[in-house]
């Protein structure tokens, strides 16, 4: 049995590295009965294209994010709320509490979750103006990825959300088409933004975990022993990405500091206050996701 797993991240990204290790472990532990081919760098398409391929049976597993998953399974909308998690430890606690229910919800979507991985907290970074409070974001053009929920949240926080494709962000920042962007510290290095960015404010508005999904048809092809191996290796995948990401974030912060970027902790409360309507909206419109949100909150108490 040969499974194909696809990831849009570059081949040296933590998730692809961890997937390659996952692949070797599976092959070894199943005695070669199950082989996992890893396709990194998005060679097989964008994330929503990959999910469609998985639903059609062309791919078996995809590393993706709730931004794309919510289109197929409304439960994943829960993870798109800003300030859902308190900190890295909170993410782990909360995910362990809810992941089984989330992963196995809506089997009609054609896929289930197998593992999650941290993608770091997203914060604002800017070229000129330091961000200390939502008021500082007023009138600033901030680059966002092309996603409605992210655009909405960034607008509520006070900035003017400007969608720019990833490949054009560097020039957009350099030439002032946008005043800043948002992401984890590693994006400063990955996109070479460190050459133009001066201020990074840890406002941590988003912590959106990635999800490794597997097609339900593929899952049914595995025998019980193989399923157990997959579950164990999925846990290892989660841990491995966490370790790799922590190293990468620390290194990114150090490198960025060397190049003159200042990192600053800010008071989160005024930011949180601004996005509370999003919680009310979700509670009113998406019962399933709202229930998961409540459990995530409870798990972090």
């Amino acid at each position: 049995l040969t499974l194909k797993v696809s990831d849009s991240h570059n081949n040296n990204h933590s998730t692809v590295v961890a997937l390659n290790e996952f692949s070797s472990a599976i092959e070894e532990r199943t005695g070669g009965d199950v082989e996992v081919q890893v396709f990194g760098a998005g060679v097989l398409g964008t994330e929503s294209e990959m999910i469609n391929q998985l639903r059609m049976g062309i791919l078996d597993m995809v590393r993706t994010a709730p931004t794309d998953l919510e289109k197929f399974n409304p439960v994943y909308s829960a993870f798109l709320l800003p300030y859902l998690f308190k900190d890295a430890a909170g993410v782990e606690k909360a995910m362990n509490a809810v992941k089984d229910d989330v992963f196995h919800s809506h089997p009609d979507s054609g896929f289930m979750g197998l593992a999650w991985n941290t993608a770091g907290a997203r914060s604002f970074y800017t070229v000129d103006k330091e961000i200390n409070s939502p008021a500082d974001l007023e009138g600033l053009k901030i680059r966002v990825p092309n996603s409605r929920s992210m655009t909405q949240a960034v607008e509520m926080l006070g900035a003017t959300a400007t969608p720019v494709p990833w490949g054009e962000v560097y020039t957009a920042l350099q030439q002032g088409i946008v005043d800043g962007a948002e992401g984890s510290p590693t994006s400063l290095i990955d996109g070479k933004f460190v050459e133009v960015i001066r201020h990074f404010s840890f406002d941590r508005h988003f912590t959106i975990p990635d999800v490794l999904i597997i097609s339900t048809k593929t899952w049914d092809k595995l025998n019980d022993e193989q399923k157990a191996i997959f579950k164990e290796e999925a846990e290892n995948y989660t841990k491995r990405v966490a370790v790799l990401e922590e190293e990468k974030v620390a290194k990114a912060i150090e490198q960025s500091k060397e190049q003159g970027v200042t990192f600053k902790d800010v008071d989160l409360d005024p930011f949180k206050a601004r996005v509370m309507p999003l919680y009310d909206e979700l509670r009113a419109n998406n019962e399933e996701a709202a229930e998961i949100v409540s459990r995530i909150e409870a798990a972090q108490e």
């Binding site: 396709f39 097989l44 469609n52 059609m56 062309i58 494709p165 490949g167 054009e168 020039t171 088409i177």
Partner: protein, 434 residues
Amino acid sequence: MDTNLVIMILLPLFLVFMFSGIPIAIGIGLSSLAAILVILPFDMVAFQGAQKMFGGINSFGMLAVPFFMLAGNIMNHGGIARKLIDLALMFGGRMPGALAHANVMGNMLFGTLSGSGMACTAAIGGTMAPIQKEKGYNPAFSAAINIASGPVGMLIPPSGLLILFSIVSGGVSVAGLFMGGWIPGILWGVAVMIVAYFMAKKHNLPTEKSDRTFGQKLKVFWDAVPALMLIVIVMGGIVGGVFTATEGAAVAVVYSLLLSFYYRTISGKMLLKTLSDTALTTGVILFLVAVSSLMSWIMAYAQIPQMIGETLLQLTDNRIVLLLIINISLLILGTFMDATPAILIFTPILMPICTGMFGMDPIHFGVMMIFNLGIGNITPPVGCVLFVGAAVGDTKIEKIIPFLLPVFAVLFGVLLLVTYVPSLTLFLPRLIGL
């Protein structure tokens, strides 16, 4: 093993389709589908085909292709080419074969604006051919020089092909590629002028005596200024970050439109025809792009790039030899294919080898590849610039070839220079910090 089988079906089928004269896009699509049936069931193949037809062109950057094409076509009909020829003649007039040099410089200037080898060859060559004939130039020689310098606009920015490469490669900086294209593009033009100089001397072609006064010269320059300003506005805007490359292409359309109104050379009827022609051509070219993305997907899915990479590395692990092999293979493939499908098909295969294994800069790789495929545009049997050049020069391809042979030799030399001296390409991008 599946990988081998997929290649064994894909390649021969592709060649059969190509030579049977069916639309290239359909040939690419059908051979890809047939090959992937080895791995995937029919239903999935059909679905994935349709998904790629949509997804393959669902990219904002792709819009630059119709925009630059439209700008080029408007300028073509707007008489802007003529102003640039006058300017070129003023500079190149004292050399033997003056009109040939003017043709090359005209192509460099107009190519800068239009970014399409075909538009440029048609616009400048079409205007110059009758003048050259009148002055006793061999039409085959004139056409050869026009054709030889036709593709410079693919390298001298702005260039649709560089933008296409940026998209296919997954986001190599367009501004960086544009800056990288300048020096190799100018070298290309100069190389053609050197060849033209020696050929003109051999055939005793006349110089153009200029009896223009300083004031008249100034007038010629002044007339060309609005056309030249487009380069300043579009390039300055993109490199200076006022707008993205795609937006810059739209600005080029608006500006060339204003320019045509200013020179009063385009009628409403002609403009409407230019618009509908461009729209139709956009359909043709981006349909080809979409199908090629299907082929790229199928090659990635069957892990063909890895296999070709490994095979190439088994031949040799010497960087210099390998780059030579890659260049010669591309030149051979380029004789059969046009640049657009070639970029789409070969970038995903060759780029990981060059940038990944050898640490070649992606900008350098892109410029090298487009230089190479630009040569393919002027070689028989398939070369759109060659066809257009022969048509506007009113001569036959077999008569042009003898004059083109020395150009090929010199251009191959320049290609090697561009390949092995990275700073030729990378000097300017580094200067602006890319």
